[in-house]
């Protein structure tokens, strides 16, 4: 067991900076998800922990040890790859045994139950078999040990990859989009199994994904990245309820947070010609107003006026897409989400609610506490700055 600490870690490929002064502390036993769009540097960050990428600057520590110069095999980590990377010519049992053959393996030798340090050493053949059996039992692979990966389904291969990761009892599991090759149903099932596995082993996990559902359901904490930089780190609840900047607001949540440009006045926040409730932000500040779809209500006399574009009925809920009326509404999220129509918002309705007809003009009200304000100039949440957010400072839950 060990923590993983990124201290101003950067990765540069010539002129391109893939990871830029990345700071993050993954606590011992924590399930940390690195979340971000493709190309944001999350996989590079993970591969630096594994030792598969050299670190251009900064210090990366596993436990108390700076591992920048250590080869992958001496970092006491195991990795689950997106493609599973099983050895196609070996049986399941041989695949699982592979990490035990060449390197020192964690044993119970020194563990006297009183916090004695476990000893790392080579295992005997019998001990290896014992470990394989244990991993096979844990992942339910007993019927497949003599098969080769080619004769397994995607889900079974996934389990073999997990078994190969757990067999050496490493200090840290590194997972690079391990569920992305599974179909939706199997993915949902495997998510739960991963949560169970983590609950049982309490091994530190660093998990990379671009799928926010995986991040929200499995993570103890989520670190959201964009353009090689850390945007916010917090529990799934924190990043959802109090996104640190416009990027996080637009990235976390399906559909994402509605945004529009506004300005803070004595009377409240002006969005176009509409006026939202007062805020404690300094008067005169240009802001981006963010409101989650579920915090909007169709309320006659509400402060925002909109025209219904269309309604999607999804069974358990309905999503109404509306175009804000009343003055020009800029959507400052637009540069981050190409193709987004400024002022086109989504309202989430419960299944029981009667949705308005397409083309109807409606009034919208915002639930108390539903308005998020971001500084229009910097994109950061009003009252926050990049330093305090990336430093993992507690973020107030709005």
């Amino acid at each position: 067991m060990a923590s993983v600490t990124f201290d101003a870690v950067s990765k540069r490929y010539g002129e391109v900076t893939a990871v830029d002064r990345f700071d993050l502390r993954v606590n011992d036993g924590e399930f940390m998800v690195l979340l971000g769009p493709s190309g944001c540097g999350k996989s590079t960050a993970l591969r630096m922990v594994a030792g598969l990428e050299e670190i251009s600057a900064g210090d990366l520590s596993i436990g108390d040890q700076v591992v920048n110069g250590l080869p992958p095999s001496r970092r006491d980590v195991a990795m689950v790859f997106q493609s599973y990377a099983l050895y196609p010519h070996m049986t399941v049992a041989k695949n699982i045994e592979s990490p035990l053959l060449s390197k020192a393996t964690r044993t119970d030798d020194g563990d006297d139950g009183a916090g004695g340090e476990p000893v790392l050493r080579k295992l005997s053949k019998a001990e290896r078999q014992e470990r394989i059996d244990e991993a096979v039992r844990m992942l339910g692979l007993a019927d497949y040990v003599d098969r080769k990966p080619g004769a397994l389904s995607g889900g079974q291969r996934q389990r073999v990859a997990l078994a190969r990761a757990v067999v050496a009892r490493p200090a840290v599991f590194l997972m690079d989009e391990p569920l992305s090759n599974l179909d939706a149903k199997l993915r949902a099932q495997t998510r739960i199994e991963l949560i169970d596995l983590h609950a049982r082993l309490r091994t530190t996990i660093v998990y990379v994904t671009h799928d926010q559902v995986e991040a929200m359901t499995m993570a103890d904490r989520v670190a959201i990245m964009a353009d090689g930089r850390l945007q916010q780190v917090g529990t799934p609840r924190e990043v959802y309820q109090a996104p640190a900047n416009v990027f996080v607001a637009g990235f976390v949540g399906t559909p994402p947070m509605n945004t529009a440009a506004g300005v803070v006045t004595e009377a409240g926040i002006e969005v176009g010609t509409s006026l939202l409730t007062e805020s404690d932000a300094p008067v005169g500040t240009d802001v981006v107003v963010g409101i989650r779809p579920e915090h909007l209500r169709f309320t006659p006399g509400g402060p925002l006026r909109a025209c219904v574009h269309h309604v999607e009925w999804l069974g358990h809920e309905a999503l109404a897409t509306v175009d804000l009326l009343g003055g020009k509404v800029d959507d400052l999220r637009a540069p981050l989400a190409p193709g987004a129509v400024p002022g086109r918002w989504v309202v989430r309705l419960s299944a029981g609610a009667t949705p308005p007809a397409d083309g109807a003009e409606v009034d919208l009200a915002v639930e108390a506490g539903g308005v998020h304000l971001f500084d229009a100039a910097t994109g950061w949440r009003v009252g926050l700055d990049a330093e305090s957010a990336a430093g993992g400072a507690p973020v107030e839950v709005g």
Binding site: A50, S73, A78, S83, A85, Y87, P99, S102
Partner: protein, 302 residues
């Protein structure tokens, strides 16, 4: 396919009708026709002529053709000349094939890394493929020349006991490019993540090579083996280019193709034809054996 799908659509739930199947076979034949024509004209017909020619004998002028039957096959294939030719070919094969596999693999492994300028080396290693046999022969005549060569003594090519080895050196050099390309392609087909998994498993370079790399390129090595063996059985131009007299001292480098070449005069066409058929059979059997015995030990992945 299109035909089959249409007949299915016409009768949902019904099996493909017999007319559909016949139509499909006709369509398949149509698609195969170009290659069938090429094979018939350039392989089956000449081969049939070759087999028939082996049943006849004629005089020095090339006429007075008379039928002697399969007895001629027995005489020639059981004869000293054919056996000696095959033996020399096997010697050449034993030098060039293992060396081709080994050197090709070593060079490819060395050159298969992401380094600046590695493409230059990859091009150099590949260049022997693009070198004509005559040029290669000329180069090595100079390299192995006893008075001016890089390897001055012993004079490999003029001693009956070493001439085949000298010739084989040129053959090995010529095979290098082909072996290198094929093995390098095999190595580059190995998913990077599998290499990385092995790295994380802590395997050192040797263990990684024997446990992971070698099994994963084994289909490619089998392919290369078959190609090299066929090449070795067909070796001729190279030997002709570097040996004086052609065929080496005391005929020490007269491989089976050399023997066939010597039997090209009109009065010996029958013998030459029989030897050609014999070479075909030997190559066929050896190749078949390679597939039968080695295919099971090759991992084709998934």
């Amino acid at each position: 396919m299109a035909v089959a799908r249409r007949s299915l659509a016409a009768a949902p739930g019904a099996r493909i009708s017999d007319t559909g199947r016949w139509k499909e076979a006709g369509l398949a034949l149509l698609f195969l026709a170009p290659s069938i024509v090429v094979f018939v004209i350039f392989f089956y017909y000449p081969f049939e002529q070759l087999v028939l020619r082996g049943l006849y004998r004629n005089n020095i002028a090339g006429d007075n053709l008379r039928y002697v039957g399969f007895g001629q096959y027995g005489d020639v294939l059981g004869g000293e000349e054919f056996r000696l030719g095959i033996w020399h070919s096997i010697q050449f094969l034993l030098y060039t094939v293992p060396a081709g596999l080994l050197f090709g693999t070593v060079l490819a492994v060395v050159a298969n890394r992401r380094l600046r300028g590695i493409k230059i080396f990859q091009t150099i290693f590949t260049s022997t493929v693009a070198t004509s046999t005559a040029v290669a022969g000329f180069i090595f005549l100079a390299v192995l020349n006893p008075s001016i060569g890089v390897v001055k003594s012993p004079d490999l090519l003029s001693q009956p006991s070493t001439a085949m080895f000298g010739v084989a050196i040129v053959g090995m050099w010529q095979n290098l490019g082909l072996s290198f390309i094929i093995v390098l392609a095999g190595l580059q087909a190995i998913p990077q993540e599998i290499d990385e998994a092995s790295l994380l498993d802590g395997h050192g370079p040797l263990r990684r090579f024997f446990r992971v790399t070698l099994p994963l390129i084994s289909p490619v090595l089998l392919f290369l083996l078959v190609i090299l063996v066929v090449n070795a059985f067909q070796a001729f131009a190279l030997i002709d280019a570097v040996t004086r007299p052609a065929g080496g001292p005391n005929g020490a480098t007269e491989t089976i193709v050399f023997k066939i070449f010597e039997n090209r005069t009109p009065d010996r066409l029958g013998d030459g034809s029989v030897m050609s058929v014999g070479l075909f059979l030997v190559t066929f059997v050896v190749t078949l054996a390679q597939f039968l015995f080695l295919e099971r030990r090759v991992h084709y992945g998934d």
